[in-house]
Amino acid sequence: MTAPNAERRFEGRSAAPGFALGPAVHLGVGPVETAGEAASPEEERERFDAALAASAEQLNILADAADVLGAEILEFQLALIEDDELLDPVREAIAGGRAAATSWRARLDEEIADYRSAEDDYMATRASDLSDLRDRVLANMNGGFTAADLPDGAVIVADDLTPSTFLSLDWQRLSGAVLFGGSSTSHASILARSRGVPMVVDLGAAEIGEGDLLAVDAAAGSVIAEPGSDTLAAFTAQREADERLNKRAAELLKAPARTGDGVPIKVLVNVNEISEIDDLSPEICDGIGLTRTEFLFSGGAPEEARQYEVYRRLLAWAEGRPVTIRTLDAGGDKPLAGITVDGESNPFLGVRGVRLSLKRREIFITQLRALARAASLGPLKVMVPMVSVPEEMVAVRQLLRQAVAALHAEGVTAREPALGMMVEVPAAALMADRFAADFYSIGSNDLIQYTMAVARDVAGLGHLTAGDNPAVMELIRRTVAAGRARGVEVSLCGDMASRPEYAAPLLAAGLTTFSVAPAAVGRIKLAISEARALGAEARAG
């Protein structure tokens, strides 16, 4: 038997879970180039107006079909192509004899450069909307978009996807997307998660030919090109089993979680970015177990008022459920310009998390003030990352109390929130009962990396990073026991909590609170319902 193409496996990162199987279709990179002489100004003007009209029509159709997030992006683009201040210079250039495409591109490039130079994260994101619009109008001048011609069940292959390209593709017919670049926090990834489109990003230099059959397990970030018949049979069986589980999980989504032996379990959600709650119902969870606040700092340290507003929105969304907010966890794999220390030889063992906060006090105190103000509005909890020794919690609590006292002295309403800690350094897990924390939240990703001495992204060492490694499980058990002994809550907010296969061992370790990715809630509730809790005698202990 001769196989034209051998089976090849690639690993990327999961942007949105699910299984996809279909032929690879590469989306063209970049806009169609616009060569050639300008026709008469009248013809060029006609061409320009027609391209604008066609773009407006496409964007309107897309906006009608889009959800809140997608519609916002599209309506901004729609408003821009009706904006005479944007269009008049193009019309003038065309009247002066330049080609429509060149004039349009020059005008938009100027705007894009303007947005980018703002050094503002929000404006930079908008700049990608502008280049998206630029390319759509250019494509329409060159005979239009061809997204409709894609074969049924195709897997889209591209360097990256812009939001409007994502929205212009018919995902009812397509099975998923794999991107060589991209990031799991991009607009397109957020859209993919909210639409349930399986997507893998950051594949690197994977060799995928046009029309290659792709088998994608997007939750695992794995892509198999030209799978052999055995691989294909295993993949198909896995996908069918997954579909059955998803159906059952959907039924449990809004019900309180319970183990097979009837013990109630709390399932909280992790929030990476404020926009993630827009399309999420609070009814699927018992609150927020981890809000990462790094997104607030991407454009430099944010003002107290801006932070307060974001924390207030989270509490309003949660409708009385507890909201846990983690203080800035910069450093390590999350450098922030102007805030973190540059040039550390090993950033993961350097000035990160609470270590950085205690050094950059002015930034930390601003965050504590915003948190204490928001705490007067509802059940807000503050969580401190990367704690290694009890003295760090003592120092943070002192700063928090000073912030509350200062706010009261200024006549500002504030309250001291519950103050807990992440348990992600083995030293903290071993001695957890010595820390004055109002709750513990186990950060399994870092706990595994620091326990096993394996960085998160090292290829070929996967066998050392499994969450159920006995040493890691022992540290989790110790933390749970410390929480019981001190009468405070212990949750787990790392990736382990979002993986159904770990639900049973974590319950057996005594864990009763899981904080998971929103998309994983149903499957985790299902896994919990099929597992047993730790024996009642141990629980009482």
Binding site: E72, I73, E75, F76, A79, L80, D83, D84, E85, L86, E111, D114, Y115, A118, D120, Y122, M123, R126, D129, E303, A305, R306, Y308, E309, V310, R313
Partner: protein, 97 residues
């Protein structure tokens, strides 16, 4: 057209400032009026066209910034009142239509 300007001002409530969604709402509302409608951040020198989303976006008016609004032409009083109210209710749709 007379150069008699009607003026008003209002403070941006949204935590992220005058970003895309409110900018689009503001320009759409301004376009409903015949009058020439302009805005500027308090203390800025130049006025910009409130009917142009690209111009409004580039103001980058932050949270708690005070915006000045002015209009001239037939329905100018209604235009400045409508824009002021839109900003004051934090760009919520409730009172529209």
């Amino acid at each position: 057209m007379s150069e008699a300007w009607q003026t008003e001002s209002a403070v941006i409530q949204d935590a992220t400032g005058l970003h895309a969604r409110p900018a689009v709402k503001l320009t759409k509302l301004a376009k409903r009026f015949e009058a020439r409608v302009e805005i500027r951040p308090e203390s800025a020198e130049t006025w910009i066209n409130a009917k142009s989303p690209s111009a409004v976006m580039k103001l980058k008016a932050p949270h708690l910034a005070r915006l000045e609004i002015r209009a001239s032409g037939g329905d100018a009083p209604a235009a400045v009142a409508a824009l002021r109210d839109l900003i004051n209710r934090d760009f919520n749709d409730s009172a529209e239509r």
